[in-house]
Amino acid sequence: MFGIRNKIYIIPLSIVVICLIIISAFFGIYMMAYIKNEKLRDFQCTTQSKVEEADAFLHSIERDVTSISHNTFLTNLIDAVKREDTEEINHCKFEVEMLFKTFSESRRIYDQIRYIDFTGHEVVRVDINGKGVYVVPQEELRDKSNRYYFQETVKLNEGNVYISELDLNREGGSVEIPHKPMLRYAVPVSGSDKQVQGIVVLNVQADHLLKKILTREILNGAGTYLLDQDGYYLLHPEATKQWGGLNDLNTGENVKRDLPQETAALILSGKPESRLVDKQFFNLIPIYFDSSNHERYWIMAESLDKSIVYSPIYAFVILLCIVIALLIAGAVVFSLIFLKRITNPLRLLVKGTKQIADGDLEHTITIEKKHNEITELTETFNLMVKRLRASSEENRQLFLQLKQGQGQWQETFDTITDLITIHDKDLRIIMANRAFSEKFNISTEELHNKKYHEIFHGTDEPSPTCPLVRIVESLQPEFEEVEGSDIGGAFLVSAYPILDEEGKLNGVVRLAKEITERKKVLKEIEMGIEYTENLLETAHDAIVCVDEEGIINIWNQSAEKVFGYKKSEIIGLSVKEIISAGVLDGFLQMSKLIKISEILEISGKTKAGKIIQLEMSLSSQKIEKGRHAFTMIIRDITFQKGAEKQLAEKANMLETINRELEEFVYIISHDLKEPLFAIDGYTSRLYRTYKDVYDDKGKLFTDRIKINVQTMSNKIKEIMEVLKIGRIVYKFGDNDSGAIVKDVVNSLETRIKTNRIKVTIDHNLPTVYCDERRLKDLFSNLVTNAIKFMGTSEQAETSHDRSAKERDDELRSVKIGCQADTDAYKFFVEDTGIGIRKEYQEQIFKIFRRLRDIETEGTGVGLAIVKKIVELHSGKLWIESPVEDGRGSRFCFTIPKTSHVSNN
């Protein structure tokens, strides 16, 4: 858990830290040295600059003294002195005084500026005191001939400068207090003749040098020392140590006393040095204050406390350490934070993973949204968990399904009615389905104990024909059909091997399917086929079966007879051999859609090539694979066709003849009418013209002629009537027969009345489908006939016997009625006349026939007309006579109920 953290801690951190340390160490060291050096350099610089300044100062003094020595005024004075020109001397003295004063004022560093003549007497002297610069009056001028500086200086050559030692000024032999360090510069001066006449002396306030220059900058912890060559302190931080020299305070303070010999010797050697002595750094620089003598020098020493130098270093080091510490701390903190950032999510991840590993697949790890690798990892991880979940769910489902499947399998296994057993490779039964267990009445446990052949065959030994035995050898599925009443029917036993990867027998599945029923069915089918075949062969019509391409596959005996091809010759050939292609194709197509087609009349061809007329009915059946087979039942109707044709021709001829006959009769009757007109006309005219001359006989003859003419006219008319029946157009419709009958009776009223006939009409006369006018004609004719048959009542009228008359009247009745049958209406017109003898009942309807017994008007055509009208309505006409008591005739006819009446 902490590995990463530690790793990050230790390794990088250590690296960083180490690096930091190394770097900072180097840095520190470098910086330290640098600082130190800088400091020291600075220090040195300071000292150096001081020294230079001092040098410059001293040099400036040299120049000053030199310049003064060369000053004109001084030269003048010298000259004047030499000339002993007192006025000039005073003048020049004044000028020199002025010069010295100015000089002093301006330079401010000279305690005294003097001109001392070669005798050693101060000639001119300018002093500086607290009050300022003043010229020392003559009286105060002294003799300085014994002074060393004088003595030394006069020895010098032109241009050389005498520089004294730096020591405390003595006044009157003792050290002046306050202490006044003094440095004397003197040059010999010469007049114009170039002879040394005197010296110029500059008393330099060395304080300026010492205080102002050398101790200009006193750093903290620094000390400035000025030593003379003897080691006496000219300048010392401790003022008491200063001026220890013999000439001065004579304190004995000396560097040789303060420091070890080598060190002091080193210092006093005049070599520039910088070194650490004790706890102090020393800068040693010689000041060559005498330019003409390089043996004379002071030693400028500046000390710097080590601490001063080192303290910045220390400070720096401390700072550095702090910084490093901070950095390290920072690094630590940073890495902590960083670590946290990394390890926290990782920890969360780990925790989450643990939870998931423990089985909680629903858990998802959440990490605050900061898009980095960790979150990616987390997200991916979550996805993975999701997937795991899904997969786990899948597995669960699969398992359920599997279980279900297994359950289903078991169900199926047990539901199958076939007897199934599963055997191991030794053919022992390891599993049996319910059907098997029930059939053999054996439980699963008992099964395992017995050998299979005991159960199946009831034998102690396996049978060689048993498929199980065979399968062991062949490793192929084996079958056997067994039958017997002992096993209860016929069974098809099939055995299927179960092979392992190497192809060796691992087990057997045995199936016993009861096929008793099937066998029975097969037998029936066989019989059915036989029956059908018989049918085919004994059928009178030719039966031909073709497939979709029209190839003949069934051909019966009658087909052989019709077409002449033997079965063997035609099977496999196309039906087009015997039947024209076009028509049949169309019907084959159509017959696929409708099972039975109508009867077709087509032509076919026999083997001999003869074209025959055929009547064919075509039916289709669907066979396997969506294909069709067609069965054609064919009848040779060539003969019929021929006969039909003849009939048609004959009918046609008959028709023509009939028509011609009708026309002929029409014309004739027409032509016959014409002369009648003339005959009657002239007969009338004859009568009219000669009626005076005519006697009774003449009148009789005229009458007879006229009557005959009329008769003939009537006959012609009647013939025309009959013809009309055959020629006019009929209009069929539903008409009320009752109304028609009433109409007819009304129109015959006069005759009925005259003949005193009672007419009874039934109420139930129906509406029939007929031609109204023709029906009217029909009834008219029948009624008229009925009236005729009953004779006139003249005899009765003349009789005085009323009762006879009445009796006679009763006998004169006509009854019209109707009886509804299933298919037609039976109408009757009944009279009470004399009746018609059986022999005449047939003939009466023939045209022109009339009964000889009665002289009736009319030609008898009427009944012929009636017959024709009834036939037109597809009805039947007959007579029933006698009706009652040997009298009466009843004319009956039927009119069919259907509207389907044949059209002529």
Binding site: H670, K673, E674, L676, F677, A678, G681, Y682, R685
Partner: protein, 136 residues
């Protein structure tokens, strides 16, 4: 006295005689013009037509037309008469032996003013003609 002309188109001479007899009975003014066949009838009327040019007035009061004519049949003559604007105003009565309804219909369709059947009774015929004369 106004002269009246009746044109009789009839081929049978007996019929023609009989009819004429009836028509002129007691009537001296009427002139009967007999035409004996269809063709002659057509010619007659055409000639008449030429004569008539411009003249509205015409003396022919009636045409009696038999259907059964040789050469050109009565129906044609009827059509001719009735189609021609010159003389379709003349009344035409068709005479025939036929009582066939179809014929009657056709005759009327072609514009005949009257039709009657030659009856087998002469007396009847006389009666009819009398009525006819009264109308014309």
């Amino acid at each position: 006295m106004e002269e009246k002309k009746i044109v009789l188109v009839e081929d049978d001479p007996d019929h023609a005689d009989l009819i004429t007899e009836v028509l002129v009975e007691g009537d001296t003014e009427t002139e009967i013009i007999l035409v004996q066949d269809g063709m002659a009838a057509v010619d007659y009327f055409q000639e008449l037509g030429i004569e008539w040019n411009g003249r509205i007035d015409c003396k022919i009061k009636l045409v009696i037309l038999d259907l059964n004519l040789p050469k050109v049949c009565g129906m044609e003559v009827l059509k001719l008469l009735k189609k021609n604007s010159k003389y379709n105003k003349i009344p035409v009565v068709v005479l025939s032996t036929s009582s066939d309804q179809r014929t009657i219909d056709e005759v009327y369709k072609n514009g005949a003013n009257g039709y009657f059947v030659k009856p087998s009774s002469y007396e009847e015929f006389v009666e009819k003609v009398k009525i006819l004369k009264k109308c014309s």
